[in-house]
Amino acid sequence: MTTTTAQRNVIDCADLVRIYRGDGVEVQALQGLTLRVAEGDIVAMVGASGSGKSTLLGILSGLDRPSAGRATVAGFDLTALSSGRRLEYRRNAVGFVWQQTERNLLPYLTARENVELPMLFAGRAEREKRAGELLRLLEVDAHADRRPGQLSGGEQQRVAIAVALANGPQVLLADEPTGELDEAMSAEVLEAIRAVNEQLGVTALIVTHDPAVSEHVHRTVQIRDGRTSTEVHRDTDRTGAETFTVIDSVGRLQLPTDYVHRLGIRELVRLTLEDDHVRVQPGEARGSEKKK
């Protein structure tokens, strides 16, 4: 699905920089990252460990602040959150699903009680009704009276999604939600996120190292060296897919690593502007020996 300019970007991060300093060492974890997610979209963010995805997640969850750049989620400016605003952001604007199920659910409460708990703290009425609806949407209503220990890992994560959505957030942030699950259960959980995205219109961002996630979402954004590098867009029926490379506001782009290796590209390339495209060729300066 492509994003039209008419749609509002619920997640709007531009030119994000995050520098960590300590012991005389400086690490630039984010190097001008840009990520925009339109309202109602479902996006996966894929990257290896050290790519900057945990840093981004820290910022999106309101825990960390960028050194420079813009980060707005659901109308909250994350670069300048007061502690009161942050509380409000985390309670009502975003819902979180974490990798370890024991971080999402209390083992001595039933599935239904776990879903009702965030509503209890938000002072919401009709908690039982809403919990029932969410559990039904996530197809775990038959297990509403069971405790997490009596559910499979996939069922526990589906209950965790219901917990995350209890207070009706605009955005669902899932951090490696399938990290501790086998392939079949992972697919089940990703389809559940897709279902709540489609039926409730909640904007979903799934952060993961698992490339298989891209089969379940419209857009997969690859993060590399602290920047978003490539994107795969999939049709709504998930048959065709197209790969794009991200170009930032000042015209920088990252070539996919396999392209660079295949053509033996090093240091310099030749750019040629054609009528409707730009040609990029391996090229070494000053007529040095050229490999074909």
């Binding site: 969850s61 825990l63 502690s83 509380l87 985390r90 309670r91 819902g95 979180f96 974490w98 370890q100 024991e102 971080r103 999402n104 209390l106 083992p107 001595y108 409460l109 009680e113 708990l117 965030p118 209890l120 703290f121 405790r147 220990g149 917990v163 995350a164």
Partner: protein, 224 residues
């Protein structure tokens, strides 16, 4: 002294036939008020299974467990809910704090569940956070706290409804030396000060030194 927790012949087997694994075999134990029983044993010895059974989160295949005079093994689920909420406090290795709630709200969870009035809840939570040294962190979320601070919140939550029994599964398992020792001290002090029966599983030798009794769990069997 009469025990608050008492187990007789408790056996729990997972699976059937030759591949069946005994999580717990023929376990007898008694723990009195203010007494700390430390259960040690290698991973897979059945420590978590034992706590799950004592905590009424699972039922044994054989044997009986009595908590504060109520036999839990045959009791209907509706009775167990009350026992879990009023008599038992749980502390987990990976803290199990809810990420969407602040430290104070996490401590408040058990009080909400027993339907305590708001003013009383607020006072109780403030007292507990003060006792575990986290008053200044009341409005922070778990991921803004260190591992040791998170476990202190977990302990305060376990104590909120003033349970008679504290069940702690490797409470210092994820913490480093100094932090682990401080959390251990807190657990030991609270068990004695509040007269709870404490059952703690651990690998930590320092915990064993502070115990009133140490039992060894191996292949599902408990020996003292």
């Amino acid at each position: 002294m009469t025990s608050i927790v008492s187990a007789r012949g408790v056996t729990r087997v997972f699976g059937i036939g030759p591949s069946a694994v005994a999580g717990c075999r023929d376990i007898d134990l008694d723990v009195a008020p203010g007494e700390l029983l430390v259960v040690r044993g290698p991973s897979g010895a059945g420590k978590t299974t034992l706590l799950t059974l004592l905590g009424t989160l699972d039922r044994p295949d054989l044997g009986t467990i009595v908590i504060d005079g109520t036999e839990t093994t045959g009791a209907p689920e509706s009775d167990l809910v009350g026992i879990r909420r009023r008599l038992l406090g749980f502390v987990f290795q990976r803290t199990g704090l809810l990420p969407g709630l602040t430290a104070a709200e996490n401590v408040e969870v058990p009080l909400r569940l027993i339907g305590m009035a708001r003013e009383e809840r607020t006072a109780r939570v403030a007292g507990l956070l003060d006792r575990v040294g986290l008053t200044e962190h009341a409005r922070q979320h778990p991921d803004e706290l260190s591992g040791g601070q998170q476990q202190r919140v977990g302990i305060a939550r376990a104590l909120a409804a003033e349970p008679r029994v504290l069940l702690a599964d490797e409470p210092t398992g994820q913490l480093d030396g100094g932090t682990a020792a401080a959390v251990m001290d807190l657990v030991v002090e609270l068990i004695h000060e509040r007269g709870m029966a404490g059952i703690v599983t651990t690998h930590d030798p320092a915990f064993m030194e502070r115990a009133d009794r140490v039992a060894q769990l191996h292949d599902g069997r408990l020996t003292e």
